[in-house]
Amino acid sequence: MGTILEIQDARYRYPHGPEALKGVSIRIRQGSKVALVGPNGAGKSTLFQLFNGMIRPDSGSVLFAGTPIEYTAKALRELRRSVGLVFQNPDIQIIAPTVYQDVAFGPVNLGLARDAVDRAVRSALSAVGLAGYERRPPHHLSGGEKKRVAIAGILAMEPDVLVFDEPTSSLDPASSEEIMDLLDELSTGGRTIIISTHDVELAYRWADHVILMEQGMVLARGSPEEVFSDHSLLRAARLKPPWILDLYHELVARSIVEGRAPPKSVLEFTDRIEQHVHGHAPRRGEAEAMGTVYICNADTVSGDELRLLFEEGHVDHIGAMGSRAKEFANRELILLDFTYGVIDKCILKSLIGENSLIITSGGMIEHVHRRISEYSAESGRDLAAVTVPEAGALRPAGRIADCD
C-alpha cells in the first residue's frame, strides 16, 4: 500500500520557545500500525500537530496522500476530518455536557444533516463499545470510558488516519489492554493507526513500525525488533529496552538461546528456551491431546447457541476480543475469563489440553485464525481453531473426549 502521510525535513520552533523539531522526515504507509517512541519532550506531540495542520512547519513540508498540505481554512478542515487526533488527556478533549453531544461535535461541525449525525454518533459509540451511554455526563465516567468517548468523538468524523497521543497513559492495565485491543480492531478496518508513547513494552508488542525520537530528531526507524535491539540508541533516547528483548539479548550473549528473530511474547519466549534446552521444537506426544480454540462471531451468534456449547462441556475458558464482543457477552450475561491478550492465553490453554472460546467480530475472526495457524506453523504443534456455530463444528470438538 502507498504512503498516506509524509513529512519531509520539517523544522518547527514554538514562538519564543526552543526548536521542537529539528529536521524530521518520516513516511507512514497506509494501513500500518506505527509507534512514535521517545521520552517526554522529544517532539512527539509537536509532530502530531503537523499531521493535521494544527501547526505549520517553519521549513520542510507535510504531505497527505501524496499532496502537500494547503494551509487554507477549507483544506485544513478536510485534512482534520481525514486525520483524527486523540489527545492524551480525555478530560481536555471531552467538552460537551453529555456523551452524545460530545461525539456529535465533529459531525455537526462537518455540517452533516441531523440523521447523518445521529448515525455517525451511534456507529462511533458502538465501535468503542459505549452504546447506551449517550445521555451520560462524561465527568462521571471512568478513565477508560472517557478515553473511549474521546476516541468515538474522532471516529464519528470517519478519519482515514487515527493518531493517538499516549493512548494508555494513566489507565490501569486492564483498561490499557482494552484500548489497545480497540486500536487493533480499528486497524483491521484498513485505517492507519499512529500512536505516540514512551512505553516501549507497548510499542514492541503492538507496532509494526517504530520511529524513535529524541530532542526533535528521528534517531531510528524500522521494525520494533531492530529499533529496540540497539541499546545505545535507546539510551540516547532515555528509554529502557523492552524486558523481553533485554532478557533475550542477555541469553543470546551467554549463548543460551539462538540469536535468530527475537521473541514477541512470553509464549514465544518459553518455546524458544524450551527448544534450546530440549534441543527441538517442543512437541507433545500424540497421546497428549491439545485443546481446541473455538471462535464465534458476536454479530451473528445467539446467546442460546453459545449456552448450548457451554452446557455440552466443550468450553473451559471464554474470552472476548473487541468492544462489540464484550458488549455482546455483557448483554448475554456470559462471564468472561479473558478480556485482554486473549489469543495468547487461549493458545496457552490449548497446550495444556483445555478448550477455549473466543468471542469476537468482523475482521478479527480472520485475525484469530491467522494468528493460531501462524503459531501452529512456527511451533510445529497442531492447534485446532474452529469457527462456531457452523455445520458440524461442534462434532470434532468431541475428540477430546475420545482421546482422554
Binding site: P97, T98, P137, H139
Partner: protein, 206 residues
C-alpha cells in the same frame, strides 16, 4: 472596555480611585471575616478570579477585542456579594494590565468602578429581577450578561466624557464617546450575552 494607562488626567484618576477604594475596603473586610470563618472561601475565590481572567484573555470569536469581565465578576457578585466581587475585579484588572497590557495602573480606579462594581451590580440586579419575574432563565442570563456589558461601556463613556467634556459640554462628549465605542461594544455585548447563556445551559445540563 479598559481605559488605558496615561489616558485619564488628574484629578480624574484620583477621583475614581477615591470612589472605588471604599468598595474595595469593605470587600477586604468582608473577605477577611469570611476566610476566618470558613477557610474554604479563599481557594474558591482564587479559582473564580483565575477563571474570570482566563475567560477575559481569550479572544471572543469574530470580534476584535476581548471578552470583558463584568459577567464573570457578576457571577462573583451573586456568589459572594458585590463588595467581595469588587476585590476580585481589582485583582483581575491588575493581572490584565500587567500580563496582557489591557488597562493600566493609574486607570485602575476608573476601571474597577466600571467593570468591578457597576457592571456586576447591574448583572446581579437583572438576574434577580428576571428570576423573580419568571422570565426564561436563559433569556435572563443573556440579558444580565449583555446589559452588564453595555452598562460597563456606558460607565466608561461617562468617565471619559467627564474627563474630556470639550467645548460642547459633558452630554455631547458622552454621546460622541458612546457612539464611537458602540461600533465594537454592542456586538461584543451581544456575543458575550449569548456565550454566557450557553455556558449557563452547559452547567445546568450537568
Amino acid at each position: 472596555m479598559h481605559i488605558m494607562e496615561g489616558f485619564l488626567p488628574s484629578p480624574w484618576w484620583e477621583i475614581w480611585f477615591a470612589v472605588s477604594i471604599p468598595f474595595i475596603l469593605i470587600g477586604l473586610y468582608q473577605m477577611n471575616r469570611l476566610v476566618k470563618e470558613n477557610r474554604e472561601t479563599l481557594p474558591l475565590l482564587a479559582v473564580a478570579g483565575a477563571f474570570v481572567f482566563v475567560l477575559s484573555s481569550l479572544k471572543l470569536p469574530s470580534v476584535t477585542g476581548s471578552c470583558s469581565h463584568p459577567t464573570g465578576t457578576g457571577l462573583g457578585a451573586i456568589l459572594f456579594g458585590p463588595f467581595i466581587a469588587s476585590v476580585l475585579g481589582l485583582i483581575v484588572l491588575i493581572y490584565q494590565a500587567l500580563f496582557l497590557a489591557h488597562g493600566g495602573l493609574t486607570t485602575l480606579g476608573a476601571n474597577v468602578f466600571s467593570m468591578g462594581i457597576a457592571g456586576p451590580v447591574v448583572a446581579y440586579l437583572i438576574y434577580k429581577a428576571g428570576t423573580k419575574a419568571g422570565i426564561n432563565t436563559y433569556v435572563t442570563v443573556f440579558l444580565a450578561a449583555a446589559l452588564a456589558d453595555l452598562f460597563t461601556y456606558v460607565v466608561t463613556s461617562v468617565q471619559l466624557a467627564l474627563a474630556f467634556p470639550g467645548e460642547a459640554g459633558f452630554f455631547t462628549a458622552f454621546q460622541a464617546f458612546a457612539a464611537i465605542f458602540a461600533v465594537t461594544q454592542v456586538p461584543l455585548a451581544i456575543v458575550e450575552g449569548a456565550v454566557i447563556a450557553l455556558v449557563f445551559k452547559y452547567i445546568v445540563q450537568l
